[in-house]
């Protein structure tokens, strides 16, 4: 067994010098250190808490116990999606008893001092973690983005330990906090994929799905990609899909992601290698599609939460016809278009006029939660189209709906037609 060496400050917190709430949180952090065989604890710069989504009485009991014992977060702490949209009451159809419990859970985390961000994409909020800093983030897509796109360092944290790390400001020195554990374990050659195919978020989600299924919880290094087709929205789409289809918590893109640029020269070159082609992306697209039924009832965008730049891309796609043909069709009256985002991105997108464009065409916006977690879509909805690999992966089980996975252009064209419209050229 590895012996854990506590600092005097850690020991004092454990002994209750900072209150019983901090002592309880410290017991959990120390127990995790034992499970992960860490020999010491380290400081964190920020935390992101996933425990605010209601999964039953135990999660609520845990948060309220910490509140009762007087605990407060010790580092800047953001909150993940909840089970309610507080800005649009009545949108989420939870039983009144469950809605009451879900609201109590949200209130408990606010009482602990966390920020009311209510988003699975905290990296789209102000004050992002700096390169090389240790953080304690929960939510698989946020974890993989922070590690990969930002070069911050977090293990795969989740319920209970996320808030305990925030309260103590400490985590075990283990896993992805350790430099040597962050080098790639498998190279993924993407040079066979034509660059125009990778010029869209859905293709990156398909790539993430294909890579996640092959590398499981390994650390892929993507090679052969033109840096000009890469942006944060695409890294987000890749990571979210790779984390749900596999267990990817860190990836690198050659010449693009910060660690590949800064530390890449020191990495071993003798790792195993796989190749991904456009045909593999089409296969991933088809795996993420559960029906050949053409009638479409809804489109869901924004899993993870839509960014400001994705709002801009959507506005461009929607108004394209107005520029070329003088008018653009609204969405089909029987096809609901839902966009999930954070309240802060919503406010910014409204300032830019993007939200007004989406609403003019018939789209509706959800904040604080997500359309695949709680009942928002009408009960009559059978088939839903999405650009999100993560939504496509979880919605059939969570909601009992069929899913069609496609590009943003395919989703917009399909929403207008009320039936699935494919553009095979986008995928070859």
């Amino acid at each position: 067994m590895v012996a854990l060496k506590l600092t005097d400050d850690d020991q004092a917190k454990l002994d209750g010098a900072a209150g019983e709430g901090v002592a309880m949180a410290m017991r959990m952090v120390i127990a995790l250190a034992g499970v992960m065989q860490a020999d010491r604890l380290i400081d964190i710069a920020s935390a992101h808490i996933d425990g605010c989504l209601y999964h039953g009485q135990a999660g609520l009991d845990f948060a309220e116990r910490l509140v009762t014992l007087g605990a407060r977060v010790a580092v800047p702490t953001t909150l993940n999606v909840s089970s309610l949209d507080l800005l649009h009451p009545g949108l989420v159809r939870l039983a009144p008893a469950d809605a009451g419990q879900a609201k109590r859970l949200m209130d408990a985390y606010l009482a602990l001092g966390a920020r009311s961000t209510w988003t699975c994409a905290p990296y789209q909020e102000a004050d992002r973690p700096a390169y090389g800093t240790d953080i304690a983030w929960a939510e698989s897509n946020a974890i993989v983005f922070a590690n990969s796109a930002l070069g911050a360092r977090t293990e795969r944290y989740g319920d209970f330990i996320d808030v305990c790390a925030a309260i103590t400001g400490r985590v075990p020195y283990a896993g992805l906090h350790i430099e040597e554990h962050r080098a790639p374990t498998v190279a993924v050659d993407c040079s066979a994929i034509p660059s125009p195919v990778l010029d869209g978020e859905a293709a990156w989600a398909a790539l993430g799905h294909a890579v996640g299924a092959q590398v499981a919880s390994g650390i892929p290094l993507l090679t052969g990609i033109d840096p000009r087709v890469v942006d944060e929205d695409r890294l987000k789409a890749f990571g979210a899909a790779a984390a749900s289809a596999g267990g990817v918590a860190l990836f690198h893109v050659e010449s693009v992601t910060p660690e590949a640029r800064q530390a890449g020269r020191g990495w071993a070159r003798d790792i195993s290698s796989i190749g991904i082609s456009a045909a593999d992306l089409r296969a991933a697209r088809d795996q993420l599609t559960t029906t050949a039924q053409p009638k479409l009832d809804a489109v869901s965008l924004g899993t993870p939460h839509l960014s400001l730049t994705e709002f801009a891309k959507l506005a461009v796609e929607l108004t394209r016809g107005e520029l070329t043909a003088g008018s653009a069709e609204p969405f089909h009256p029987e096809c609901a278009v839902w966009i999930s985002t954070s309240r802060s991105v919503l406010a910014e997108a409204r300032q830019h006029g993007y939200v007004q464009i989406v609403e003019r065409f018939g789209g509706r916006v959800v904040v604080d939660t997500c359309t695949y977690l709680v009942p928002i879509l009408a009960e009559s909805v059978r088939t839903v189209m999405t650009t999100s690999g993560k939504w496509a992966w979880y919605a059939p089980t969570n909601l009992g709906v069929d899913v069609v996975f496609g590009t943003l252009a395919e989703c917009v064209a399909s929403a207008r037609a009320g039936r699935v419209v494919r553009d095979e050229n986008a995928w070859r």
């Binding site: 039953g56 999660g59 209970f160 089980t397």
Partner: protein, 166 residues
């Protein structure tokens, strides 16, 4: 190990197997060896412990009261909450046997101990030992009887598995 069945029963009982402790506690139940990793979130029923994952080969069986053995868990970190809630509601496993250090399940068990004083043990065995356990497991239909009950004991430094032949 002494059992109510006396010497004859002792003869068929397997010697205690040493394991590594992840979470302390004592639990006894019918052994359920999972053929594939299971995500408690999205894969088991919060209120009953039944395996609901449509992709899982043992869908329809329940983890409630069982000594659940598997190579690893899978999927969402929300599984910590689901396990803690099942333990609170009395439909959680009696013990969990794993082959890898699984922080998500360990945190669910640790939270249930903090909140409710429920100490469900989680222990580590080698892949070979898990295969041997699977080998000796009776078909799932027989798990309603007390045959094949396993007791898992874990403290901070050591752990054992004992198979009782009552």
């Amino acid at each position: 190990m002494k059992t109510p069945g006396g010497d004859a029963a002792d003869a068929v009982a397997h010697a205690a197997l040493r394991a590594q402790p992840l979470c302390a506690g004592v639990g006894t139940g019918g052994l359920l060896v999972l053929d594939e990793p299971l995500s408690f979130w999205g894969g088991t029923d919060l209120a009953t412990g039944e395996i609901t994952d449509v992709h899982h080969p043992q869908r329809g069986l329940s983890v409630a009261g069982r000594v659940v053995a598997m190579a690893a868990s899978r999927g969402s970190s929300s599984s910590s909450s689901v396990l803690a809630e099942q333990l609170r509601a009395g439909v959680g496993p009696a013990a969990i046997i794993l082959t890898s250090r699984d922080a998500i399940l360990a945190l669910g068990a640790l939270a249930a101990f903090e909140l409710y004083g429920i100490a469900m043990p989680i222990v580590l065995v080698t892949s070979d030992e898990l295969a041997a356990l699977a080998d000796r497991a009776a078909p799932p239909s027989e798990w309603s009887s007390s045959d094949g009950a396993v007791t898992v004991r874990a403290d901070d430094v050591s752990a054992t598995l004992e198979r009782s032949a009552e």
